[in-house]
């Protein structure tokens, strides 16, 4: 399962080829009569497909909404035009171009390379800015930064007359502004490349980690995934594809002006992306097809004269169609027509061999001998003291419970340990290594994995993939531990029949077990569990005892568990810490704790 080339490489490649051939065949059929207008429609559609695939690589995998990709397109388009237009034409159009650009004479291929390189450099800078702003799915900061890029590029293109010839006329390759691209071969080559890149990226390590972060940024980080790295990779690849598409677009039109890569094109490409399904390559292409056909249809209809329909059939119908499609899909079907379905998912299901659950392997993992220490942790939220010199120590051989009334600071202590909340003072150590001040993903990579009170799964990903992505992280950063295979963890959590279902579809108990298994997949020295039995019946929480024990045994990790359920705590814990008002008021075995007067006072409110 770790490396399943059929699923991760072969089927996607076949699927991409199939999609390309389908598009190619359709295009050839449609243009068979040699009509010039249908020919140019198809050419534009194929070029738009490249640009939208570029958007898909970033927006689809990371969930970060970018309005700036068309701004990257403008940079690529202008760079391409300025390099590729012949010097004679340039001397007439932009004689005062800086850096001696007017004399430069490059072939289209060379110009494309220059455009690609320059745009990727800009994208790298923007990518740094995005990660500094903490970009994640639906983040506002990312929208602002990318919009700013679109606007600034547009303004520069309009105002830097010496270089771009301004907004009125723009630059053109030939005096008549004819199409300059001869033959469709370059488009086909770039298109098949874009399809394969977009599809295969979804299966790469970076793509899968980015998707996990898209589903839940916080959960991804505490599982050791650093979204910034994956988002940067996705951004650079996506900008490369958008650049190629934009250069093609300019070359095909034979001219460029600032309006060509601004709001209208952003609207068009984004609508194409979301209609078919932004998380799917097949969906992206379906969206391109539907929107192209719809735009063409409405454009033709708007010129027609049908009695009684004049209120509808008039100029501007195409824009209504685009805006309406965007709005309609967001309201009625936000995931698009295909969701995240791919052609090769179907193919894979036909080709793969029957699976059987892995045989339960005898425990081979050596118990970790780690020690986790939280020393004198103090946290204030405004005037409220959440933790007051709280200390905790756990060794990997034991299960340590953390109990206390609501608001005692249990979850806050867990948050401090896993780096989600910064403490005012105190330190966290794992085997003498200081974890205080590390990022959440750094702490996870050092050997702490947690679950959440109200669970946070990667809801659109399958059960297996939830565990798989974390396993992927662990194989790189937790090599010292011998990690059980993904399918063993799936089976251990009792989720084998549900392995291909989405996490969002699981029932409550299964979701809890999946979260536990996902944490275990991180190969931690300690599992930190925040109320694993909350919302469970007595019977279920007794089962959870076995579940936690066997999971900890399987990976050889210690356990720190917060819970309210007294049966659960006494059934599973070797030692219990009792927190009240941010202080540790008692430590001991469950039996000792239950007779401790201070604990009884805290729980029952008696003062004596």
């Amino acid at each position: 399962m770790q490396t399943d080339p059929l699923r991760r490489a072969i089927a996607p490649t076949l699927g991409s080829a199939f999609l390309f051939l389908l598009l190619l065949g359709g295009s050839l059929l449609y243009t068979a009569n040699g009509d010039a207008s249908s020919n140019s429609l198809v050419t534009q559609m194929l070029i738009n497909a490249v640009v939208v695939l570029g958007l898909q690589i970033y927006i689809g995998n990371t969930g970060v909404l970018s309005f700036g990709h068309i701004g990257f397109g403008a940079i690529a388009g202008y760079t391409f035009a300025i390099c590729a237009i012949s010097p004679e034409r340039k001397l007439r159009q932009i004689p005062n171009a800086p850096f001696g650009l007017a004399e430069i004479d490059l072939t289209p291929l060379q110009s494309g390379m220059v455009a690609l390189t320059l745009t990727i450099i800009v994208a790298f800078v923007i990518g740094l800015a995005l990660s500094r702003s903490g970009a994640r799915s639906g983040a506002v900061a990312a929208v602002v930064i990318t919009l700013a890029l679109l606007f600034v590029v547009h303004e520069v293109a309009r105002n830097w007359i010496d270089l771009t010839r301004g907004g009125k006329t723009g630059l053109s390759f030939s005096p008549l502004g004819n199409a300059t691209l001869q033959g469709k071969l370059p488009i086909y080559l770039i298109l098949i490349g874009a399809i394969a890149l977009a599809r295969l990226f979804k299966e790469t390590r970076a793509g899968r980690l980015a998707q996990a972060a898209r589903e839940d940024d916080l959960a991804a980080r505490v599982m050791g995934i650093d979204p910034a790295v994956q988002q940067m990779i996705a951004l650079l690849l996506s900008v490369a594809v958008v650049s190629a598409g934009s250069a093609l677009r300019v070359f095909e039109l034979g001219s460029i002006n600032p309006r060509l890569f601004f709001f209208d094109y952003t609207l068009l490409t984004l609508t194409m992306l979301i209609v078919g399904g932004r998380n799917s390559v097949a969906g992206t292409l379906v969206g391109v097809l539907i929107i192209t056909a719809g735009s063409e249809l409405t454009r033709n209809l708007s010129g027609m004269d049908v009695p009684g329909m004049n209120w509808l059939l008039r100029d501007g119908l195409t824009d209504i169609f685009l805006g309406g499609a965007m709005l309609g899909f967001m309201i009625l079907r936000p995931a698009g027509l295909l969701g995240d379905w791919e052609v090769d998912h179907w193919l894979y299901r036909r080709l793969r061999r029957a699976e059987s659950p892995p045989a339960p392997s005898p425990v081979t993992t050596a118990r970790s001998t780690s020690v986790l220490q939280a020393a004198k942790v103090t946290v204030h939220f405004g005037g409220y003291q959440a933790l007051d010199n709280a200390s905790l120590e756990a060794t990997a051989g034991e299960v340590v419970g953390l109990i206390g009334p609501n608001g005692a600071g249990k979850t806050t202590l867990l948050n401090v340990i896993t780096g989600l909340v910064r403490s005012d003072s105190g330190r966290i150590e794992l085997d003498g290594t200081v974890l205080t001040g590390l990022s959440p993903h750094g702490i996870a990579r050092s050997g702490l994995a947690r679950t959440f009170q109200n669970f946070r799964l990667f809801s659109a990903l399958s059960v297996r993939e939830n565990i798989g992505v974390v396993h992927l992280m662990a194989t790189r950063f937790r090599q010292s531990r011998s990690l059980p295979p993904v399918d063993t963890l799936v089976t251990q959590a009792g989720l084998w029949e549900h392995r291909d279902r989405r996490a969002a579809e699981l029932d409550y108990g299964s979701a809890r077990r999946l979260e536990l298994a996902r944490a275990a997949a991180a190969g931690p020295d300690f599992l930190l569990l925040d109320e694993p039995t909350s919302g469970m019946s007595d019977h279920e929480s007794i089962n959870m005892i076995d579940q936690v024990r066997s999971m900890a045994e399987l990976i050889g990790a210690g356990v720190v568990v917060i819970d309210h359920d007294l049966n659960f705590i006494t059934g599973i814990c070797d030692r219990v810490y009792v927190l009240d008002q941010g202080r540790v008021i008692a430590v001991g075995t469950p039996a000792e704790i239950s007779v401790n007067p201070a604990v009884q006072a805290a729980y029952l409110g008696t003062t004596d």
């Binding site: 983040a139 506002v140 929208v143 602002v144 600034v152 805006g323 965007m326 967001m330 948050n415």
Partner: protein, 295 residues
């Protein structure tokens, strides 16, 4: 010195309008967690209303209140047609929905009116100036500042002293808890849209007095200014939005007067760039209302 004072007053005049727009956006963000990129459409609709009313022979005294009514109606209709259906949806969906509304309204005007801008008369007094010593003050700026102050005071009273205001602030603080406390979400959200309509209406009156034209994209610029100002203010914060608007106005005026000749056309780009930088280094906005995500 005199010049600086003049520029500050000019900036307050601009900033006042931005503050009203930003406040409307912040109010809606508070109750719905939605950045309303369709806020500018209220201005677009107001602009066409002004144009048609002028064409039918009305004057500004009639048109000004009519603009507010129309802006409120538009806000309520947009909420009913679009935003109601994506309540509580993921941020991505809500962002795209508000952009969808923005583009759709724009397209409707292109289709049923025209893509071209149409002019209508501006009131005669907007170019008048008052001289106090060396200081020459534009009457228009003073009018905007006064109207902004009155509107903000009214809004403040509404938010602090009325049942609706308390519900709105409670919902902005914590929507789910507010609902549990018996606040009716439909009513609060509709109220928020009405309030944002009123604020946009007041802003529209002055915006249109100055621009004197109506076109499908008339709302784009005010929308961007309002959103940027609200972003500077940290989005959820109402006082932040007002401060953000005024800051934006002042920065613009100072930039226009300080930029070397020939680059003045880049003012909007530079402002946008500055705000993007602000977001790179302070993603939570200038004025922090940091919401710690509970886990």
């Amino acid at each position: 010195m005199i010049e600086l004072i003049q520029q500050i007053i000019d900036g307050l005049g601009r900033g006042g309008i931005y503050a009203l727009l930003a406040l409307g956006i912040a109010v809606i963000f508070g109750v719905m967690h939605l950045i309303n990129f369709a806020h500018g459409e209220l201005i677009t609709v107001s602009a066409y209303t002004s144009y048609w009313l002028f064409a039918s022979g009305f004057n500004w005294w009639f048109i000004a209140p009519a603009i507010i009514v129309v802006a409120v109606l538009t806000a309520v209709i947009i909420e009913f047609v679009a935003f109601r259906w994506v309540r509580g949806a993921p941020d991505f969906t809500m962002l795209m929905t508000s952009f969808g509304v923005h583009f759709l309204v724009q397209a409707l005007f292109v289709m049923y009116v025209s893509a071209n801008f149409r002019q209508f008369p501006r009131p005669g007094w907007i170019f008048d100036t008052w001289r106090i010593g060396d200081l020459s003050l534009e009457v228009f700026d003073l009018a905007v500042i006064a109207a902004t102050l009155v509107t903000l005071l009214g809004t403040y009273w509404l938010l602090q002293r009325t049942m609706f205001g308390v519900s709105l602030r409670a919902a902005a603080e914590d929507f789910d808890t507010a609902r549990l406390m018996g606040i009716r979400s439909n009513r609060v959200i509709r109220g928020a849209f009405i309030l944002s309509g009123v604020l946009a209406g007041v802003a529209a009156i002055f915006w249109l007095m100055r621009s004197g034209q109506a076109g499908p994209t008339a709302g784009l610029n005010p929308m961007l200014k309002g959103v940027l100002a609200a972003l500077i203010g940290g989005l959820g914060s109402l006082s932040g939005a007002v401060l953000g608007g005024i800051t934006l106005g002042l920065v613009e005026v100072l930039l226009i007067s300080r930029l070397p000749g020939g680059t003045a056309g880049l003012t909007d780009g530079i402002v946008f760039l500055l705000i993007a930088l602000l977001f790179v280094f302070r993603p939570q906005g200038l004025i922090t209302v940091r919401r710690v995500e509970r886990v």
